[in-house]
């Protein structure tokens, strides 16, 4: 990245961009850290169809730790300087972000990746055959694009494509909305011969459950939060609702006005949360309030960013009787897997 660019791009985003280009994940964690969630699942590394897990869920704990740290700093008297330089911040407050990853390594790996493990179980239960690249899974680099670093994005896209091709991949089942949009819609704009077929997890599930009996373990009132990229970029609006409606015991309720393509952003779009952590939290609280007002006991969504934001919204609103789950977790429970 040239120096001029770094001057006007908010450092929070430069930091993430550097992580992607140097470490192939948004957190900047050492290679392979993110693949721990799948270690007992025996997923083949070579397969025509692969499950693309994405950074958001694989590094959820680390990202959450980093965000809570950034929010704390942002609210403190030195918060106004946050855009100045993350590096100088770390020095000032004596926090070593690298320590975050070391913490991650000793942390029980079970806390990360539950939605991913459930997604794998659901797909297997539906008889879908697929593999997972594990520590070879590249970062899709979507954030480079949203940061305005199109040259870096193009280089990354080439690396990602070549890596996927070298593993013989033909189809991708992707779960994170942003990765899905990047793999399906953005990359083909940069790679002429792009021929990977990309489907979102919810599309595959909907196809598979047509003749299945699904029942949630208990009767619950559920509302669905549409992630921006899934609803407005990818147009996957009715699919998750059809899945939820197909599950007995689930009563689906919608927010007043702000549902489907009109859903309110959780405040975590395109790296915004790393530039304006405190404002991002205010938006998260606003969106959480809209969802909680439906009277739902479970908020279902499909994006690790949204989940992180909404969890924080619940915490700020001091609400402890509402749960936030990824659709994969809900379907897994309904399948009893």
């Amino acid at each position: 990245m040239d120096k001029k660019a770094k001057e006007l791009i908010p450092p929070g985003l430069v930091y993430i961009a550097d992580n992607i280009t140097s470490k192939q994940n948004v957190l900047g964690a050492p290679k392979g850290t993110g693949a721990k969630w799948a270690k007992d699942l025996n997923l083949p590394k070579e397969a025509k169809t692969i499950f693309f897990a994405g950074c958001g869920y694989q590094y959820a704990t680390g990202l959450e730790f980093m965000m809570s740290l950034l929010r704390k700093i942002d609210k403190s008297p030195i918060g106004a300087e946050l855009p100045m330089s993350l590096a100088s911040f770390q020095k000032k407050i004596g926090v070593d972000l690298g320590g975050v990853y070391r913490k991650l390594l000793v942390k029980d790996s079970n806390s990360d990746g539950q939605p991913l493990r459930d997604a794998v179980k659901v797909l297997r239960n539906l008889g879908v055959e697929f593999g997972y690249l594990a520590d070879d899974e590249p970062c899709c680099g979507g954030l480079l694009h949203y940061t305005g670093l199109q040259n870096e994005f193009a280089q990354n896209a080439r690396r990602v494509y070549d890596r996927l091709k070298s593993h013989g991949v033909k189809q991708i089942i992707s779960i994170v909305p942003s990765c899905t949009y990047t793999l399906r819609d953005l990359m083909p704009k940069y790679i002429e011969e792009y021929d990977l077929e990309v489907k979102h997890f919810s599309e595959v599930v909907l196809e598979g459950i047509q003749s299945r009996e699904l029942r949630f373990p208990r009767g619950v009132r559920v509302t669905y939060h549409d992630p921006c990229q899934l609803a407005r970029y990818l147009g996957l609006i009715e699919e998750p609702r059809q899945i939820l409606r197909a599950i007995k015991g689930i009563e689906l309720t919608e927010t007043d006005w702000t549902n489907r393509e009109w859903a309110t952003c959780c405040g975590g779009g395109g790296g915004f949360e790393a530039v304006f952590p405190e404002l991002s939290e205010i938006l998260a609280v606003n969106r959480t309030r809209e969802l909680v007002e439906t009277g739902a006991q479970i908020i279902v969504t499909q994006c690790p960013g949204c989940i992180m934001q909404l969890e924080n919204g619940l915490k700020e609103l001091k609400i402890d009787d509402v749960e936030i789950l990824d659709l994969a977790q809900v379907v897994a429970m309904a399948m009893g897997v």
Partner: protein, 396 residues
């Protein structure tokens, strides 16, 4: 990066301001209800918006020809037309027409805000009255507009009562009807004493040189009808080929601005005239004797050439997108400069030398895309914002 730091402080102060939150939540609720009703009652608007998108695409592609045609038509109508290449040119042209020590009554004009028209005329020694109620409030508060159609969207009635009490020296309650009547009384005589009336235009027909002005208060009719001189400042992107096209643009604009139909729509094509005595055409009957139209370029012809950013010029300024922006809901126009939110960042980049502020605005957009869902022109603001970030990152 001190610009970024200052800006961030500004929007965070706004985000913690309870008054902004209350005023905006009232405004958003009312906008959505009204817009839904208006679109339900006149469902043809959605198809008409698609037609208008085609009209605008074509018009922006031939903006330079249309401005020539409009100037010729206005001249033929016995008005005077000018093309201002820059904001400074526009200020000079209008400054010379107005002169000094004049009383000026103004209709609300975002283009006027863009070039700092009121401030310029005041510095030149004129007394300038904003006549739109919201704009009048903002002027008296020494604030700036926080929404393109509802400039005082961030000011709750309690604050207006306080302000008007100070101006009139009377204790006024926050009763909206009383406040509106107070503004009417304060401004009434100014229209008839004024030397010059000023306006913008919502859309302009190039073939007839007709300005269409949409309003509800009636202040624009008075400001452009009572004084002896009418000067209009219009961005070049407001031009469309024909009067028929212009009507369609106008109807779509007011509908998405949440009105079934506005109280007043004025079509102004030239100075006031009469032929009632011996069929001799005489100018300046009851309305203005002089009619001047200043077309502003200020970066628009450049923007029109950009394959992605040209979309910003399709904007009808209905203001619908702002009510959908989650950041606007908590910061109002503090997320913006002269124009607001994501699309405002594009306008800021077009007309500002201040790259840092433009960058700060560009990186404030969530790229969540709900504005695009609302937009009658289907303007892809997230796409423009990402392109703007690219231009910023590459130092263009």
């Amino acid at each position: 990066m001190s610009v970024f730091t200052d800006y961030k402080k500004e929007i965070m102060d706004a985000a913690h301001d309870e008054r902004i939150r209350i005023a905006l939540s009232r405004a958003i609720k009312s906008y959505r209800e009204n817009a839904n009703n208006a679109l339900k009652k006149f469902p043809h608007t959605i198809k008409m918006a698609e037609e208008v998108r085609v009209i605008k695409e074509k018009a922006i592609g031939e903006m330079e020809r249309l401005v020539q045609q409009a100037c010729e038509a206005i001249t033929e109508n016995r008005g005077q037309a000018y093309i201002a290449k820059t904001a400074e040119d526009a200020l000079n042209i209008i400054g010379n027409l107005v002169g000094r020590d004049k009383l000026v009554v103004k209709g609300k004009s975002m283009t006027g805000e863009e070039i700092g028209l009121r401030e310029h005329l005041e510095e030149q020694g004129n007394e300038v009255y904003e006549t739109d109620l919201g704009e009048f409030i903002v002027q008296k508060l020494n604030s700036r507009p926080m929404h393109i159609l509802a400039p005082a969207v961030h000011v709750p009635k309690e604050a207006v009562a306080q302000l008007f009490s100070k101006i009139t020296g009377q204790e006024l309650t926050p009763d909206i009807e009383t406040l509106v009547a107070t503004a009417r009384k304060l401004l009434r005589e100014k229209y008839f004493q004024a030397d010059i009336g000023m306006s913008g235009a919502n859309v302009v027909a190039a073939d007839t040189g007709t300005l269409i002005l949409i309003e509800n208060e009636g202040n624009i009719r008075l400001a452009t009808g009572a004084p002896p001189v009418h000067i209009a400042l219009v961005g070049m992107e407001k031009l469309v080929p024909t009067l028929g096209d212009a009507y369609k643009v106008a109807e779509v604009t007011w509908r998405y601005a949440n009105y079934t139909v506005p109280s007043y729509v004025s079509l102004v094509s030239g100075p006031s005239k009469t032929g009632d005595i011996e069929k001799v055409t005489t100018y300046g009957a009851h309305g203005p004797r002089e009619f001047h139209v200043v077309f502003l370029d200020a970066g628009r012809t450049e923007l029109a050439k950009h394959p992605v950013m040209c979309q910003a010029l399709y904007c009808l300024r209905c203001g619908g997108c702002l009510y959908e922006c989650p950041i606007f809901a908590v910061t109002a126009g503090h997320f913006g400069d002269k124009y607001f939110a994501g699309i405002g960042a594009v306008w800021a980049a077009m007309m500002m030398d201040n790259k840092e502020k433009a960058a700060a605005l560009a990186y404030t957009c969530l790229t969540c895309g709900r504005c695009k869902i609302r937009c009658p022109m289907n303007i892809d603001t997230p796409e423009m914002v990402v392109e703007l970030r690219r231009l910023i990152a590459e130092g263009a």
